[in-house]
Symmetry: C2
Subunit: 340 residues, 2 copies
């Protein structure tokens, strides 16, 4: 993985200044255009035409603690829903012209092979992170590696923009634990209501997360974090980010689960940060804590808290727009427009 | 123009609750889906497939007061740029799959007929609103009517989503004046730096706007406001909103110029408000004042201050997404997904 190309970033800033618009008037799109130029190591950067959403699904042993009102079987049922095209992420991906690949990163049921599904699992249910590691270090390393190879293969096949999404009943619990562990914020600060839980369950969830984080050695590296706190889909998504970045592909991250994966990826390779685009600001408090830690400013803020990559995929047109501005807009000179 | 259909809105809220997602987890998209259902008077509402950006251009006599560093000729030069496809709005419209029609609402130069251009002008330069009306009441009525008919004709031709955009050197001045007049906020509160002016010019601009507003009878109706404070493109855009709403087409409004037009339209027919979707929060303070007055919550907040409909058109995918969710997502029942 290489650092963003500072010459391309400077060229983008210079080009923005000559385009037929008041200086700086495209706000965040200009900043994003500079980042895309740095990633592509050229200005203008290519306009992404083959976006792919990777929706990784996994199950979580910690739900034995009662941190969610949803039954575990929903994870697998939603995998079926994704493959049938009926979930929110399918609708939103169609709207923005993105493909979807579903990853079984560790769903707790037998999984027949089907079109649109990549089965990358090494286990079916993580350990209960309140009392034990989510998985072994070898399993975490293997999942990160499988996610990385998936992204590399897709990039080699022409995918030029990745979006990370997740499905996993209970997965805001490991995500908040990772955010708390990496950012140093208290479990209370970073734990939210997930899919909608009451005050009593929330207080219990905070206690479970505090125990999970408290169990961890304070000097864990990225794989250690994924191993101790989980989950399977988070490890795969961290790998997807590393693989995408390594292949020079921008990666739009979704909400708190994707951001927990981003923290794991960042602990493995800090350079990955430059390749990440924050799609939206999830309502989960852990998302904002992770965004701040990573120095990412989200493009959208629509009070979403669904996961699946729903908030990430909605940012795809904005990434295309930012690249398109640099690639296709006329300059004052070329259009014969007077300057002030 | 009819009120939004409350039965369709209720049906949308009920449908959202049965879709395969946690209740309320799509945030603003759910609220928008209800509005679109109310506009279409059915649930699910159609997914817009023929969005059109109307970019209305006009020139402003008030620039004689020195409220902008840009020369007036830029308005016409940018019309040429729009028609050549090299402006920001062209790039962004291509990204989201929208068409663009440019309206000469009153540009201060001869205007040959060209493809993609609608010449609706009744004059070439508004009066200097610091000391005189922008145009006669008859001219204002004629421009609103021409804008209305343009929208009606396009809707009859299949356009199912409108976006309003503007071009006009100096047009943040009449816009801020209208916002101040209608909302009752002081000129200082609602006047911004437009395309980027310094402190001295800003203070002068506030004084010019205060004089313009102070000149007006306090009981002006919508046409009176457009006549006294201008501008040509604002009158046309007010008509576009009224025509779109009358034809049952949602209208995405852009920044402060479009919002000033929305205030004029609202003073002509308050029901228009239900058909408006705020595309983004412009950096101009008058935009936020108008949004609050109209009770509109913007979808995007990207620090844009360009105009042309740039912030509006970026919201097109979000409108499609909101309709798509209602039209295409599976329910818990249909997908066989367990509920909590």
């Amino acid at each position: 993985m290489r650092e963003l190309d500072s010459q391309a970033i400077a060229a983008a800033a210079e080009r923005q200044a000559g385009l037929t618009k008041p200086a700086g008037s495209l706000g965040e799109l200009e900043r994003l255009g500079e980042q895309l130029s740095g990633i592509a190591a050229c200005c203008p950067p290519p306009i992404p035409s083959r976006p792919l959403v990777v929706v990784a699904a996994g199950d979580h042993g910690v739900i034995a603690e009662g941190v969610t009102p949803w039954p575990q079987e929903v994870t697998g049922q939603m995998v079926d829903n994704f493959l049938a095209g009926g979930a929110a992420i399918n609708v939103l991906a169609r709207v923005v012209g993105a493909d979807v690949v579903v990853v079984d990163a560790g769903v707790n049921r037998p999984q027949p092979e089907r079109d649109g599904l990549a089965i990358l699992k090494v286990g079916r249910l993580t350990g209960n992170i309140r009392i034990e590691p989510a998985m072994s270090r070898d399993e975490a390393a293997e999942l990160v590696d499988r996610g990385r190879r998936l992204a590399e293969e897709r990039a080699a096949g022409g995918v030029d923009l990745l979006v990370t999404g997740d499905m996993g009943i209970g997965n805001t619990t490991p995500s908040a634990a990772i955010v708390s562990y990496v950012t140093g914020r208290s479990p209370q600060e970073v734990t939210g209501r997930g899919t909608g839980i009451g005050d009593e369950m929330l207080a219990h969830k905070v206690a479970v997360i505090a125990d999970a984080v408290g169990r961890c050695d304070p000097s864990l590296d990225g794989l250690g974090i994924a191993s101790q706190l989980g989950g399977y889909e988070i490890a795969v998504l961290a790998g997807v980010m590393l693989g995408g970045a390594g292949a020079g592909v921008p990666v739009i991250v979704d909400g708190v689960i994707s951001l927990a994966a981003a923290l794991v990826a960042y602990r493995i390779e800090p350079l990955v940060r430059g390749y990440l685009v924050a799609g939206h600001r999830s309502m989960e408090p852990g998302a904002s804590a992770a965004l701040e830690f990573l120095g990412l400013r989200p493009l959208l803020d629509l009070n979403l808290r669904l996961g699946e990559g729903s908030g990430g995929v909605l940012a795809v047109p904005l990434v295309k727009a930012a690249a398109g501005i640099l690639a296709e807009m006329a300059t004052f000179d070329s259009a014969g427009v007077s300057e002030k």
